[in-house]
Symmetry: C7
Subunit: 90 residues, 7 copies
């Protein structure tokens, strides 16, 4: 089953927050809305977006952004470009 995000959206699998991510980013689950790390599973149809973001990229995104969905038992997020803060490279 494929979820193809519309326009400038991206489908993301969030990484477990508490544990230290392989890339060294600690996102303590503090009260404060810390951004989250996630893996890009699918990129929207917007051309400019597709030039900047690829499937497999690891991105940092604003915690409050996007919509939650569950696909094949996995909790995923559909995020808009404006909520993507950075791309993380090891």
């Amino acid at each position: 089953m494929k979820v193809k995000p519309m326009d400038d959206r991206v489908l993301i699998e969030p990484v477990e927050e508490e544990s230290k991510t392989p890339s060294g980013i600690i996102i303590p689950d503090t009260a404060k809305e810390k951004p989250i790390v996630g893996k890009v599973l699918a990129v929207g149809t917007d051309e400019d977006l597709r030039e900047n973001i690829k499937e497999g990229d690891r991105v940092l995104f604003a915690k409050y952004g996007g919509e939650d969905i569950t696909v094949d038992g996995k909790d995923l997020k559909i995020i808009q470009r404006s909520d993507i803060l950075a791309i993380i490279e090891d």
Copy 2:
């Protein structure tokens, strides 16, 4: 009787939320505004929209978006493009 959506709108038949959709998307009717799955019955007059969305597409859309109408006894929704999150393909 045909309902032809105006401009960038789409006519959608929402899928029953509770049951697991054939495509594996579970949309539990939790308090939180989870997005909904639905089938596209008609696409608006906006050209760019018609290039991205087709009749018969199954889409994921924001629950709070759009207007409810009942046509020939069926509860349908008229949604704007900005509330369409993704297209789902099996």
Copy 3:
């Protein structure tokens, strides 16, 4: 007496809500702001609007939109394009 709507507005004669419209659309007068069906009596001066909407069209429009006026004893509405959801064809 002719009422000629300005710019992107449309003059509409709303259809009685409760009764089932010939086109099968039931618009129960529930608390929730269900859209309304109406007949287009006059179309504004905006060229693009005039390509998409014609006098005599039956349209579905957002209940809360537009301004109420009474002309020759008839309760009519002046609606902006953004409040027109769809055109209905039998």
Copy 4:
């Protein structure tokens, strides 16, 4: 003394609301903000506006819109284009 409205504004002499206007429009002074009928005394400097509205036109405009002024003892209104709903022709 001449009042020359700026940009997209129009100077209007509102018609008495209660009485039935010669053109058949009844604007009962209900609580609800019914639009008002008035005669155009002067049109602003905006070119596009001047192509659509002429001095002497009778227009229907949103009651809450514009600014009240009194000129030579007459209560007038300065209205922006966006508050003009329609032109009325007998």
Copy 5:
């Protein structure tokens, strides 16, 4: 000492409200925010503004608009174009 307004602003010397202005405009000091009459002392740097407004023009402007300043003992106002309703000519 010269005050040169920036961009689309205008420096205005408001006229005493209560008295009937030579041009016949009565601006009673009612509770309601009636517009004010004033004389243009300086026009901003915006070219389009300078084509529409000249030093010495008498203008009608929204009471709540602009900033109050006192220059050489005179209470003046710096107003933006969007708060200028009309030019008054005797």
Copy 6:
């Protein structure tokens, strides 16, 4: 140490409010948000801004605007173009 304002911002040294400025502008410290006079120390990188505002200009700006910083013991302000009301010339 040089502070180079970004984009359409300007670095300003506010003038003491209470005293009558050499240019005759009295800015009493009333409760009401009276604009302030200040000297331009640096102009941002925006080209159009640099054509209209020069280092050394004395400007009148909205009191509530901008950010307060202290540089080498001096209390300065970083203001955006939209908060600059006028340039003052003696």
Copy 7:
């Protein structure tokens, strides 16, 4: 591990607020939201931004802006261009 900011964002290492920065800027930790000084570690993909801001620049930015993240034990901020007030040069 590299954090590559998206679009018009910048990755910044804030300077300790209390101490007087080498460049003479004192940012007392008063209640009032004083701007903060920081060093640019990475610049987003936006071309115009990259012409105005370089890695290694010391910038003054609005305290309330951006998102907090911790990378390899360091507390950093991801800021948007609109929150960058000035570049500081010694």
